[in-house]
Amino acid sequence: MLDEILVGDVLHRARLGGADFAELYVERWRRRALRVLSGEVKEATSGIEYGAGLRLFYGTEVVYAYTNDLSPERLLELTETLVKLKGSAGQVDTQGQGGLDFRKAVAQGLHTPAIPFTARDKRYRLERVREAEAGAQVSPQIKQVQSNLMEWEQEVLVANSDGKWAEDRRVRTRLYVTAIAQDESGMQTGVVGPGLSVGLELFDRYSPAEIGRKAGMQALTNLRAKPAPAGSMPVVIGNGFGGVIFHEALGHLLETTSVAKKASVLSDKLGEKVASEVVTYIDDGTTPHGWGSSEFDDEGLPTERTVLIENGVLKSYMVDRLGGMLTGYRPTGSGRRQDYTFAPTSRMRNTYIAPGSTPREKLFEGIEYGLYAADMGGGQVRPGSGEYNFAVKEGYIIRNGRIEEPVRGAMLVGKGPESIKRIVAVSDDLEMGPGMCGSLSGSLPVEVGQPHLLISEIVVGGQA
């Protein structure tokens, strides 16, 4: 995307200015978004995002600059400005030889889409979205359906003063359907939104009509649901997107961003038992076509499969370059950023609790009164205290081992390190679900996942 000599020049000038390490990140996005509400195209947008981020290290001190003027003059000027911003503390390397000899890493096409961004016209896309909408009309009580189709194509180049040069092309497609059901008691929503690192073949993997139908059914369930109970009780969390609880309550605590500053309650705990022994927790950036997969991370390292917790014992953190320097842990290909406007930090990719051996039905046996959180919404965590909260999107009361009436508005709250010790059984039905994760380096596509599992006690915030 950028001339090799220019890239070499920028990195070399940064080193001359005293930086120990320099990294240039260049990207170009093409994006399309289509929002259809009740049959009408409400928004159809397209866009090009194009820019570069330059990161310099002086020891572990970082300066970062970004711009979307990528002319040679402006890029070199930016480099000079950045070096000056740092002041004169750095060692000036007047002996620098320049002319970096880049070792080029080429993506193997592990996640290359079958149907590229440029294929098919806009009418084709609109027809698929309309199928989803028709699928959601499961009852006259479905008053509205909103569908969002998002397509991204991102070309990335990462080059650094160690001679690394990595290029990647990432294509992602997601269809997100929200159904609204209404009766005299009020309005409720159902949301289903599969997404993968694929092109329009997403519609072959997930039929639009089926996506719509699921969203419609969930809205209907919530409509007849009663307000959730409040109090402390056993909770069975459903598979797939249910994994968001451990993304929040556990995953964020294992990123070196928090660990290096000892801002995570799980800092300095490698080799220690931090969870119940039925818990094995994995972050995998290599899953073919995974929503959170890529061949290289945003620091140019190949992504990998990282076992974070094995049978309850903490095995690894998620480590980026800076996190690695600060903690001494080996980088795990976890350096990610939303786009060129962010410096990378350690982030999750596709993170899940590995399957266990308890059959799903057994989880419910023996629960006198509890909550079945069949599907989850988003949540939040404060890594310093481990306090988290997240919303139940589809929930049911468990009574004497049986799944009974639906409830809505439940919020699960607690402290992550306590909750993972209270996982008493894990089923074998692992599923993944896509989401967007917001943190220091922006909003990123990630998958969360888990099999059905049982937590012995958790605070449910409800209204009743």
């Binding site: 170009r28 399309r32 289509l34 509400l37 009408e40 195209v41 928004e43 159809a44 947008t45 397209s46 866009g47 090009i48 995002e49 194009y50 820019g51 001190e61 300066v63 970062y64 600059a65 970004y66 711009t67 979307n68 400005t81 911003l85 740092k86 806009k122 008053k143 509205q144 609204i180 309005m187 409720q188 929503t189 409040a230 109090g231 402390s232 928090s258 000892k262 801002a263 406007t341 410096a343 988003g378 949540g379 939040q380 404060r382 890594p383 310093g384 205290s385 306090e387 909260n389 997240f390 919303a391 809505r408 508005g409 919020m411 709250v413 402290k415 605070v459 449910v460 915030g461 209204q463």
Partner: protein, 438 residues
């Protein structure tokens, strides 16, 4: 190509193709200085901008944008915008006629202090926090500033530009006392760098987070709630604005649809949005379509007076355009608040209940369509008119419109918060809400 050249290129091409077009170009400069462990840990300097077009073809509206400003990229933008427009089934789209709006500077020299002073501000904030032995970790401390220039032009004659910006001190840290840990944050936001005082932000943090240490579980039940301005501002910015946006009303998502002139809140509740507020952080001379700024009373003594409109929603609903059009170069025409605030009242006298100091998880736990919320909160138990002790691990739940109608008292002082837009609120007393804890 510069941004203005890109704007002119797009307008000329559009005219040649016989397409009505509106071009918005923004250019932002940002500086962030992050302190950690007594030194500057990270400095980010940024320039970012782009051009976005809204076109109307045969009464149909389409959008596209680019950050790359080459003729090829801009030609792609016009072509995609044109195709996007033709996908619409809805006709009746139009671009408002406009005029020369002039160039305005709402920032002046507010950010012109030397870099060294800004580094010091970040370092002093961090050092001040560390000086208190109860502060266990300082997770993030930063000074940041932002300066934006926006340029608007259309084939219908709109032309104008303005410059605005702010300076911000922000910190997030953990305090500990015994086995009790609390993470909190604090900020100070201003259009003038020299009005920021790190020492004041340190004191505010120690006060606001320190008082939550040693929190006890809260017994599940119904309590009177006293929302502090920050907590109420979060709820209002998230739920209130959603309900008042005419776009959501037209899309059938607002519980306030059809309620103009009706009582929707307690009679002591008046809600205003004012882009003309002198020195207001979200003040601006005109909106994203070139409609001149004016003050709007949305809810007056509990009565819903108007929704917030842009030209499109105003025409569809046959109401007056309140000038709330909002658009980033990447986005589509929307509706956004400027300086949104609750008119202060006669004061709050506490007796029994819960002071809600902060809310968490709003994106997941507050559903503006149903109006229902169930949110993790931090707070203090009030007994016999005094703040008795802090409470934790609980949620507060209810329906936002019911909450508005149950407001029984409002504090006398307005406090501005930038958490969910720029929202101002006093202390808000609510008769009774459901709290879930141990």
């Amino acid at each position: 190509m510069t941004f203005e050249e890109a704007r002119d290129y797009l307008l000329q091409k559009a005219k040649a193709l016989g397409i009505d077009a509106e071009v918005l170009a923004t250019h932002t400069r940002e500086l962030t200085i992050q302190a950690h462990g007594g030194r500057v840990e990270e400095i980010t300097q940024a320039t970012q901008g782009g051009v976005g077009v809204r076109v109307v073809v045969e009464g149909k509206t389409g959008y596209a944008y680019s950050e790359e400003r080459t003729p090829e990229a801009l030609d792609w933008v016009l072509q995609e915008a044109h195709e996007n427009a033709l996908l619409q089934s809805e006709t009746g789209g139009f671009l408002p006629a406009g005029s020369e709006l002039g160039r305005h500077d709402l920032l002046g020299e507010g950010l012109s202090a030397p870099l060294e002073q800004k580094r010091q501000a970040a370092l002093e904030l961090e050092a001040g926090l560390r000086a208190d032995s109860r502060v266990k970790q300082v997770q993030m401390t930063r000074y940041s500033e932002s300066e934006t220039q926006a340029t608007l032009g259309s084939t219908q004659g709109v032309a104008g530009a303005f410059r605005n910006g702010y300076a911000l001190l922000l910190t997030s840290a953990v305090m500990a006392e015994g086995s009790s840990l609390k993470q909190g944050y604090e900020f100070d936001l201003s259009k003038e760098f020299h009005t920021l005082e790190p020492g004041r932000t340190v004191q505010a943090f120690l006060q606001n987070t320190g008082r939550l240490l040693g929190a006890r579980p809260l017994k599940t039940g119904r309590y009177k709630a006293y929302f502090e301005p920050k907590a109420f501002g979060q709820l209002l910015g998230m739920m209130g604005w959603f309900l008042l946006s005419a776009k959501n009303v037209l899309e059938g998502k607002s519980l306030l649809a059809g309620k103009i002139g009706q009582k929707v809140a307690s009679e002591i509740f008046t809600l205003v949005d004012d882009p003309t507020l002198p020195g207001g952080l979200a003040s601006r001379p005109f909106d994203a379509e070139g409609t001149a700024a004016k003050r709007t009373v949305l809810i007056e003594n509990g009565i819903l007076r108007t929704f917030a409109h842009n030209s499109e929603t105003a025409q569809k609903m046959g109401m007056e355009n309140t000038g709330h059009a909002a658009r980033s170069y990447k986005g589509v025409l929307g509706i956004a608040p400027t300086n949104l605030f609750v008119q202060p009242g006669q004061g709050v006298k506490m007796d029994e209940g819960i002071v809600v100091t902060d809310l968490m998880g709003l994106h997941a736990g507050a559903n503006p369509i149903s109006g229902e919320f169930s949110l993790q909160a931090l707070g203090l138990k009030v007994e016999g008119g005094e703040m008795a002790y802090p409470v934790e691990n609980f949620t507060v739940a209810g329906n936002f419109l019911e909450l508005l109608s149950r407001i029984t008292a409002l504090g006398t002082e307005l406090e501005w918060n930038p958490m969910m837009g720029i929202v101002g609120a006093p202390m808000v007393e609510v008769a009774e809400l459901s709290f879930a804890g141990a």
